[in-house]
Structure formats: C-alpha cells, structure tokens
Symmetry: C2
Subunit: 377 residues, 2 copies
Amino acid sequence: MTRVEELDTPSLIIDREKLERNIAFAQARARELGAAWRPHLKTHKCVEIARMQLALADGPATVSTVREAEYFAAAGVRDMIYAVGIAPHKLARIDALNRAGADVKIILDSVPAARAVSEFCRAHQSTIGVLIEIDCDGHRSGLKPRDPEMVAVARALTDGARFKGVLTHAGESYNARSQQEIEQAAENEEQAILAARDLLAEAGFVSEIVSVGSTPTFVRARRRLAGVTEYRSGVGAFYDLVMAGIGVCRVEDIALSVLVSVIGWQKQKGWIITDGGFLAMSRDRGTASQSVDCGYGLVCDVRGRLLPELWVRQCNQEHGVICRRDGKPFDVEAFGLDTRLRILPNHACPTAAAFDRYHVVDARGVVTDVWTRCNYW
Amino acid sequence: MTRVEELDTPSLIIDREKLERNIAFAQARARELGAAWRPHLKTHKCVEIARMQLALADGPATVSTVREAEYFAAAGVRDMIYAVGIAPHKLARIDALNRAGADVKIILDSVPAARAVSEFCRAHQSTIGVLIEIDCDGHRSGLKPRDPEMVAVARALTDGARFKGVLTHAGESYNARSQQEIEQAAENEEQAILAARDLLAEAGFVSEIVSVGSTPTFVRARRRLAGVTEYRSGVGAFYDLVMAGIGVCRVEDIALSVLVSVIGWQKQKGWIITDGGFLAMSRDRGTASQSVDCGYGLVCDVRGRLLPELWVRQCNQEHGVICRRDGKPFDVEAFGLDTRLRILPNHACPTAAAFDRYHVVDARGVVTDVWTRCNYW
C-alpha cells in the first residue's frame, strides 16, 4: 500500500472523491438540461476517466487530437467528434479508425475544407460524418451563425462526406467576469447554434447533432434552448483555478494537483523552494488576468488541505518558489526537506499534459490506482 | 525518404545544420575561455544530441531530473551534476546510478540537506559527490557568495558525502536588456563563485569543481576569471526567441521549430488557424516582457525561412492563430489547407518537452533522423 506522501516528486495526483463528484455533477447537469453530454476527453486523455464519464461504453465523446481518437477507439469508444478543424492530411487516420468500426466525426468551416474531405471520400470510397463549425463569440474558428457561406460549405460535402450538424464552443466564457456574463454566454452560444441550424435547415440540410459546450456555459446555463442536442465540456472533470476564478467551481472542487517536495529555502526572502517547476506545472498563467492572481498555483498540504496564505510565486524549469501572498518572511524551515505539498494548477489541461500518468488517491491518502494518459499527437 | 512537408503535425523539428553550428560554437567558446564545458542536457534530453556535445563519451554533463541522469547513464554518460537542490528521497536513485558506475554529483545549500545526505551515505555506505550551491544574483536557490553558513554546510558533509566544489547559475541574465548587462552578469557570476570558493578554502575545503553557467553569460563572458573550472549552458544547443531577444543569438540561429498545418482561416480578421496550439508550443510567453513580443512564436515557411510580417498571436490547446504583426487583414487563403509552417518558440525547453521525439531535417528538407527524448521524472 503506497501512501501519497511516499510518492516520488513531482507526481500528478487525482483526488478520487472530487473526480467522482465532479463527474456525477456533470452527468446530473446534462439530465437537468435534458440533453446528451459528450464530454471532452482532451483534459484527462485517460481511458479510466472516460469510462466513468461516458453514458455508454462507446460514447458519445469529444477529442482534440487524432491520437486521442485512436487511443479511445482502441478502448471501445466509437462515437467521437474530433473537435478541431480538420487538416486534410489527417483524414487517412480518421478513415482507418472508422473502417475499424469507430464513428469519428470531423468539423470544418470552409468550402475548401469541405471539398478536400469530399475528394478524400470519393478517392477512398470512405464515409465521414461532418459538422460545420460555428463561431458564436469571435473566439477562434468557425463561420458566423448567420453567414450564408455555411450553405455553400454544406453543399460542398459530397460523396461520402455526410453532413451531420453544427457545433460551436463558447470559448470566450473563460474570460467572463460574473455569473451573469457566463449565463449570457450560454444563452448566446445556444442562440447562435440554433440560428445556424435553422439557416442550414432552410437550405435542406437537417442537423442531427446540434452541439454546444464549454465548461462555464455548461455549468451555468440557466436552461436549454429546445433543439440543442448535446453539451460538451472538458475541464470540469478536474476543474482548476481559472474555473474557480470565474465562479464555475470552488477551489475545494479541484481534483487535480501536482505533488512536490521541499528542496530548500531562502530564509530571508521567505521562500520555500520545491521541485515543482514549470515543466510540471506548465507555463499557464491563466489566473494572471483574473481578479485573484494565483501565480503558478495554490498550495495544499499533502492531504489536499489548502494553505490559503501561500502561493507558488514563480517557477523555473525544475524549481518552484512558494511564499506568502503578502510577501512577508515566515518560518520557512517549518516545511522540512522532503515535505510533500500539493499544488493546485491554474489550468488543468496543460498541467496534466506534463505527465504521462495519474496517481489516484483516496480520502485516506492511499494511492489506489495509477492511470496512464495519451499524450502527444 | 520523408520530406519535412510530409510529416504529420504538430511535429518537433530540428534543423541539423543549425544544431551542429550551435554546438560547434559552444565547444569553441569553451576552448576560448580555457575551461571545460559541461552542457546542460535538460533542454534537449536526447542522447544523440548529448553525444554531439560531450567532449568525451562519459561527460561532463549537467542534468535537471533524476530520470535524465538515469537515461544518460544508460547511454554511457558518467560524470554528471544533478543541478537541482536534492530532495533526500531521491538519493536512493542517485546512489543506484553511482553503484552501477556513474558519478552523479548533487547540489545543496543548507545544513539540513548536508546532514540528510551524510546520514544517507552513512546508512547505506554510499559515496556521493556534493557541490554547494551559490546564489550569485538573487535568482533562486543557493547561499550568498560570502555567507559563512557555507562553511557549516561543508562541515556537515560527513561519511560518504564528499565536498567537491561550488556551483552557481546566473539566471537573472535572462532578463538582461543589453550586452553590457550580460557581460556584467558574467563577471558577477564568476566573482561570486570565486568568493565562495575562497571562503571555503580558508576553512580547509578545496573546490575541485568551480562551476558557472547560463547560456547568456557563457556566450557573452568577456574573459574567464582564473579558477573557474567549467561552464554549463543548456538552451544554446537550440537557442530560442528569448535568447534572440537579449541578443545572445540571431533568429536565424534557432535550430528548433514546431511544424504545424493550416486548418482554416478567419478571413475578415486576417487570421490563419493552425493545429499548433499551446500543448505543442507550450504556454511560455517569455518574450512578452522583452522589447519585441513574439506572441507564441515567429512563423517560418516549411523550409525554415522567416516570414517576418507574421506571428502566432494566440493559442488554444490545439489551435494556433497566425496573423500579421500589424493586425491588418491579408490574403490568408494564400496559405492553403495543409500548408506546413514552422514556428520558432519563445523558450526551447518547454516547447521541446511537449514532444517525445525530434524530426531532424537537413538543408534539403529531408528528414534524416528521428530522435527520442526522455520526458517526465
């Protein structure tokens, strides 16, 4: 029996109770909204967690890399959306998965992309489901919800390239400053996708899938607009300080942390030095623009209890510097060499991607499981 | 024969010619300074590159994780310094390497750490070489160069814990704003380490190793002060935009890039969307505080020729947004779907850590080798 304080450091820790609670909350939330939940597996990239999340063993799910699609397909997940605009050279890998029994759908937002997919399907006698990506808030990719170009895109889907529906992501909700702003983002996201659906329907393209989702809008949507068929959300399995900063979760809901060890001190400066640097925490500083800057993370004891006066002020590659938020010196040597601490990350996705495995810890501090991740592309 | 434009994306690319030139420069620089070069292998974590760098097959080298020490020891590197303050629970892994024939030295900066190492050596009848870490510029860990505490630390090394010398790292040189500031940082670094050496020598502790190094100070030191025995430097194998920003290299010396594909556009905004997001580039924004902010990276064509009017303005997990520096719209569709581009990173260390392998490309654009990396801990 290994206890969390016996692990080598840095290690990536999951608090199993919090993970289970977060997943149960998302499942209940989807039921409450009356739509399917298509969890985004990009945050954890882990089969064991996917199995806890998925309604059925074969999906539905969302992925962000072709390698994730391959990894989850090998574990029996069938119904996936690869929710990043397709680069045509990746179609061969998608097609191979679908020929082996999966149903990986892709997204695109332009006539050239639709033509490239159609041409691929014609040349290889393939069938690939396609969603048109809609830009609901200027965040990134996609066509505007009322852009007539989307009809041209749908019409450019020929041969085995099958129009399946529309998809959007309210990415700007991450920058929300109030609950009201998140609720507005959720309303806007759903109205945008329904406008796109309607415009396509008028041209004869019926959307089987009408997909929205970001963790903030999923958690805080006041209602579901009729016609939205599914919600995607990713980081909500773990949550993180950015999500806590916009009020989507509490700090105590964060299920992911990085276990570090004390390796020294700068007594006069009030610094505790740890072996948790930016390769372990990631360089993400997502809380820097929020009302409470959490540096490179907040500090918990080895059992996960927050030490609220501390933060990780800076990181080098393999060094983290913990000090008081108010900068005052304190008895840093009270944290002896090898003391284990758990650091809550700004952003769960890049922090988790820094590791190849999770150590799953129960309420007693016992490591019950080691789960691997599917990193890279 | 695979050409760079045929690789799946994102992929990590090394320009072999530039890598070889950068390594030859560092070797010549060490000769010019008249000291040993102990390259820091943490940037590349790759045996093939280590072999190109090392004076002898067995070292000397610097590492930043115990796993690197294990990985390079398995490839025959013997003389290493693990240049992160030791967490006592890691001594067993260090000891195992040394018993198998390596000579991995450790660093520490406190009496409790010295006692922990001595106690370990006594309990296990081990011998471990120890350097005392000196803080030359307030950057991070280490004792101040004239802190008498270092004699107490040296005295606390007993049993098989063998005092070997002193080590410092001019980390603040990364924030230099001029050549003169880097030269001053180099002078300060060497004076600091010699002061520490002298203080210890007066107490009877003779330093066999007097180690300095940061890429800026190594490249720009005007002279070597007599007594400095070795220089460490890491990022200089690849260089990056942060190094170019402080004038330590030219942008055209950067040997590392991330190959990405065009996946779409936002025409009205003048955005090219790629599949190179922050998991591939890392979240490092090291140039944000420099005089020229490079966003998430500068853009080259597939052959590595800089497209100076462009930059990666923003990244999401698997999306990169390329636009003109002046923000003006342009003919984004001239960069067709699947067009390969190469992105120069802000900071080579975290960007390289996002991948498990390098694709090595020659001047003709042919992939000559695939080299793996030793990630994680």
